[in-house]
């Protein structure tokens, strides 16, 4: 059931002559139990921010709901402490 629904738009896209991207993404935190989400670890959090410092959505990053939730709180905490920016500097 789920498969059929998932495939349909992809087919349409192919007909339109666009490239099809469908790769199964695995939640990074589930795959690697070693890395834990920590608001103090700005370097890791940066991976999940765009150039504009927006939080990358789950649909792009492939994180599972549970880890995405933890990640967002961690990022927001880090932002408050100025470890990670809210946005790029306005010039």
């Amino acid at each position: 059931m789920v498969d059929v629904i998932a495939k349909r738009p992809a087919k349409k896209r192919r007909r339109a002559g666009r490239k099809m991207f469908s790769r199964h993404k695995v939640c990074r935190f589930c795959a690697d139990k070693e890395i834990d989400i920590d608001y103090k670890d700005a370097k890791t959090l940066r991976i999940f921010l765009t150039e504009r410092c927006k939080i990358i959505p789950r649909r792009i990053s492939g994180n599972c709901a549970r880890h995405q939730r933890r990640l967002t709180t961690a990022i927001k905490r880090a932002r408050h402490l100025a470890l990670v920016p809210y946005t790029t500097a306005h010039v």
């Binding site: 940066r46 100025a82 809210y86």
Partner: protein, 159 residues
């Protein structure tokens, strides 16, 4: 008892005495409320991700303690009053620490480890600064010695 993690950022120009005073005040609250002090970690002066009160840098400290929860409000109140505090954040690190003594011992160990890492970082930074100075002597000096990548991870643990 619960374990709390409290991070606070002191403005970079504060004197060491002033910093010590702030630390002491926090510890005072913890002991007053019959909490247990666990550890204090000095993250060093870091570049802020954005300007706060016109400061580009801040001196980060982290303190962990065990307590009932009454301490948090009081510490936060003190932080709000203090003009040298740029930011603070309190996080509940562990809902229920049943074995207090073990945690105290563990925290002491953790603190020692952190101190060691800090010393290494410090040494590394000194070496890097030395190298930079070396390079500057060869090259024309830029207009600002603070010129570093915006999101650099200077004071972080980079091996």
């Amino acid at each position: 008892m619960r374990e709390y993690e409290f991070v606070y950022v002191i403005q970079p120009d504060a004197t060491p005495e002033r910093e010590a005073e702030i630390h002491q005040r926090i510890d005072q609250v913890v002991t007053d409320q019959k909490g247990r002090f666990l550890l204090r970690d000095d993250w060093g002066k870091r570049r802020l991700a954005y300007e706060i009160k016109k400061f580009q840098k801040g001196h980060y400290f982290q303190v962990n303690f065990l307590g009932s929860g009454k301490e948090v409000g009081e510490i936060e109140r003190l932080m709000r009053i203090d003009a040298d505090i740029l930011r603070y954040l309190s996080v509940l690190a562990n809902e229920e620490v049943s074995d207090v003594e073990t945690r105290v011992v563990e925290a002491a160990k953790q603190a020692a480890e952190q101190a060691q890492r800090r010393a290494e970082r410090e040494a590394e930074r000194a070496a890097r600064e030395e190298r930079e100075k070396e390079r500057e002597r060869g090259l024309p000096v830029g207009d600002d010695d603070d010129e570093e990548p915006r999101f650099r991870a200077d004071d972080e643990d980079e091996e």
